[in-house]
């Protein structure tokens, strides 16, 4: 069996969690707790091992041959449309499946402890496995439609898992919000697919009819349209402005869901889609700039909002939106490798932070309000220690993973001469360090405020929960070695690994007679070093300021120190610039009024009115005619006589 044959078996990777989901959905109740959790974790681990084997197999091939389309079948064929259901193994998809299955397996393990005692324990793991299967289909798909199928699958699982505790109204509402907001983005994705099909007659990424090879043949306007429509889909899925508002609400789901879906994997699908479609971005520079600026604006916006959130998970949710903004910034300027690098590093440290916050919530008996926490380091040393690792990583402190990955995006922005983007990104980094420091100090240091709220003693979480914390903390510390920015020493492992994909995208414009894009390289080592030092300084300044402000926790009056300093603006931040409220007013209110008109005016009065009106008419007619039936024989006799006379009169009149 040759290596290529082995790679054609890539369908096994999504099939494993899919099988787990089917088994758990059918027999979950009988398997019970905790066995169903272990089953789900084991299939994820197997999928991870299969992914690792795929990585090895792909690595053994020559660099220009690292693109294998696996076994499959023709999914649909109608007229000119022929879509295969096949999986594509290339450096990009292998990178994605590795961290999806790896982080996914850890989070599944964690969830065994976190979901302990839940009445729908096995159902939860069925959904989690189904999510993993959909996500793997998304990244492995060999054409846009298979990717779209996975895209919708993860959207469905996201909905199911956000609303997992649907007895709580807020959870049910948040699930619907996420689902509907994603639909708005999906429309963009679908129109992009229609456009691609109408231009190329195919949806395949590569191969004989691959659209990404030929992207350069498109006129600039069309390429821009395709890229921006795909970006609309990415905005919805990755919670960028202006479709970001579903993600903070999605925190209603169980914390492992927030970690897996709304931090590490699903929300990065948008970034993946843009990197996969990089050829279109290369052809259209305008689209790239729009993507970069939307990303930068989102990063700044979400970071400012995160400063004033009190829910431990909502801080992390806004932080996720902000970090995704960084990734889009990287994609927009053409630093695809840097975006993927941050995506993986972010998966490590944000999953760690979410699982840590879940551990805190678990230990605090379900309390999520940071104002009631404080001083938890004493009670939960493991959680605190690992959370602090995650905090240093996301703040960008040397040598954690976040330092290398975020610095790389900022440096690429600088060397791309996008100084404004660099400035926005650097300021956002300062805010990131500040709000994460605020969170750490409010939760783990300072005075204990839980007694005022009558919360019992917190406790440390069980080993199934702390083990993934350790693993992710380890990855957050060493994750940076994936891609150290020392090109001459061949240490940019990830960049070189992704080169076949990214370089192919950069060469796409050549087909249309345009100049090929090029990877962004530092102009000099010293310049890169200075930029790194600036990033590090910013991170440390942010941390020091945060520590100085929140050293004593809240003020004596129980207020947030930041709130006291910035006054009225704090309220704007706490309400996320009122975007949610404004949308509810601009979109929600007219829609509600229109819906009420339809339900009340058209349906109840119009359609129901017509149907009921006919009934009422006959009822009244019957009521009137009823009186003729007096029950008195003599009345009937009179009727007969009158009838007879009338008939006779008629006959007489006619004959004469």
């Amino acid at each position: 069996m040759s290596t290529t044959d082995l790679l054609e078996l890539s369908w096994i990777i999504p099939a494993l969690p899919a099988a787990g989901a089917v088994i758990l959905l059918l027999f979950g109740k009988r398997i019970g707790e905790p066995k169903s959790g272990w089953l789900a974790t084991i299939v994820m681990t197997l999928a991870f091992l299969a992914s690792a084997a795929t990585l090895g197999a792909l690595y053994s091939l020559d660099e220009d041959k690292r693109q294998v389309v696996g076994d499959g079948f023709t999914w649909m064929e109608a007229g000119g449309l022929k879509v295969d259901f096949r999986f594509l193994v290339d450096p990009l998809s292998v990178t994605m499946i590795l961290f999806i299955t790896g982080v996914g397996a850890l989070i599944h393990l964690y969830a065994i402890g976190y979901m302990h005692g839940d009445p729908r324990f096995s159902r939860f793991f069925a959904y989690m496995n189904l999510f993993a299967a959909s996500m793997l289909v998304l990244v492995l798909g060999s054409n846009y439609l298979v990717t779209f199928m996975g895209w919708e699958g993860v959207g469905l699982c996201s909905y199911l898992l956000i609303s997992f505790w649907f007895e709580r109204n807020s959870a049910a509402v948040a699930g619907k919000k996420a689902f509907i907001t994603n639909r708005v983005g999906d429309v963009g994705f679908m129109i992009a697919m229609f456009l691609i099909f109408s231009k190329f007659g195919s949806l395949d990424y590569f191969g004989d009819r691959g659209v990404l090879h030929e992207a350069g043949l498109l006129p600039n306007v069309t390429a821009t349209a395709i890229a921006l429509l795909l970006f609309v889909g990415a905005i919805g899925k990755s919670a960028q402005l202006p479709l970001h508002f579903w993600l903070p609400d999605a925190m209603e789901g169980p914390t492992p869901v927030s970690a897996l879906i709304h931090a590490a994997t699903m929300v990065t699908a948008g970034v993946f889609l843009m990197v996969r479609s990089a050829a279109f971005l290369e052809v259209s520079a305008d689209a790239g700039m729009i993507v970069a600026w939307v990303g930068a604006a989102t990063a700044l916006f979400a970071a400012t909002v995160a400063v004033r959130q009190n829910d431990i998970k909502r801080v992390l949710a806004y932080s996720t939106i902000s970090q995704l903004g960084y990734m889009f910034l990287g994609v927009g300027i053409g630093a695809y490798e840097a975006a993927i690098f941050l995506m993986i590093a972010h998966a490590f440290f944000k999953a760690l932070l979410f699982l840590g916050s879940g551990s805190v919530i678990h230990g605090m008996h379900g309390e999520q309000n940071m104002r009631l926490m404080g001083g938890l380091k004493k009670w939960m040393p493991v959680t605190a220690g690992t959370f602090i690792v995650g905090w240093l990583a996301i703040a960008g402190v040397f040598p954690f993973a976040g330092f290398w990955s975020k610095d790389e995006i900022l440096a690429k922005a600088w060397f791309n001469d996008s100084y404004a983007l660099w400035a926005v990104g650097t300021f956002t980094a300062l805010l990131t360090a500040f709000y994460m420091t605020r969170q750490v100090w409010l939760v783990f240091y300072g005075p204990e405020r839980r007694r005022d709220a009558g919360i019992h003693e917190p406790h440390e979480s069980p080993p199934t929960m702390t083990a993934p914390l350790f693993a992710l903390a380890f990855l957050s510390i060493v994750g940076g070695i994936m891609n150290l920015p020392f090109g001459k020493q061949n240490l940019e492992v990830l960049t070189e690994w992704l080169a076949p994909v990214t370089e192919a995208a950069r060469r796409a414009p050549e087909l249309g007679g345009l100049e090929a894009g090029h990877a962004i390289h530092p102009t000099s080592f010293v310049a890169g070093l200075i930029l790194s030092l600036i990033a590090l300084t910013v991170a440390i300044v942010g941390i020091l300021v945060g520590r100085a402000v929140y050293k004593k926790g809240l003020t004596d009056e129980g207020n947030d120190p930041t709130e006291v300093r910035i006054g009225g603006f704090a309220k704007v931040l706490a309400n996320a610039y009122y975007i949610d409220a404004a949308l509810a007013w601009v979109v929600g209110r007219p829609a509600t009024i229109f819906a009420r008109f339809l339900s009340d005016g058209v349906d109840r009065r119009g359609i129901d009115g017509a149907v009921n009106g006919v009934g009422v008419l006959f009822q009244h007619a019957g009521g009137g005619l009823r009186r003729l039936q007096t029950g008195l024989v003599r009345n009937y006799a009179l009727g007969i006589v009158i009838g007879t006379v009338a008939l006779l009169a008629y006959v007489l009149v006619r004959t004469t």
């Binding site: 009823r626 009186r627 003729l628 039936q629 007096t630 029950g631 008195l632 003599r634 006799a637």
Partner: protein, 107 residues
């Protein structure tokens, strides 16, 4: 002995008599309240009709009219049997047989 001029009894006399009988029957049916009397009125109307049939049978020299009278008599007999049974049944349940008191089928 004065000669009484007896006019020739023509068909008109019979028909007028029949019409008078029929009208008496019909008016009686409408005005009386005793079911038994009403029943008798119906019989009167039937016989008025019979008389008309016979008259025309003779006038037109057609035996058909007389045949129909036999049919009518048979039907009338049947009707009496059923009708009297109903009246007896009513008598058993109520003190009298006033038609206006019986309005159970009022709509």
């Amino acid at each position: 002995m004065p000669e009484i001029e007896i006019p020739e009894i023509t068909a008109s006399y019979y028909l007028i008599l029949a019409a008078l009988l029929f009208t008496i029957g019909a008016v009686g049916l409408l005005l009386r309240r005793n079911t038994l009397v009403m029943f008798m009125c119906i019989e009167l109307m039937l016989n008025a009709a019979n008389l008309t049939f016979v008259t025309f049978a003779k006038e037109l020299d057609d035996i058909g009219g007389q045949v129909i009278v036999f049919f009518t008599l048979v039907v009338a007999a049947a009707e009496v049997a059923v009708g009297l049974a109903i009246i007896v049944a009513i008598f058993r349940r109520r003190p009298d047989v006033t038609a206006d008191d019986i309005n159970l089928l009022k709509g």
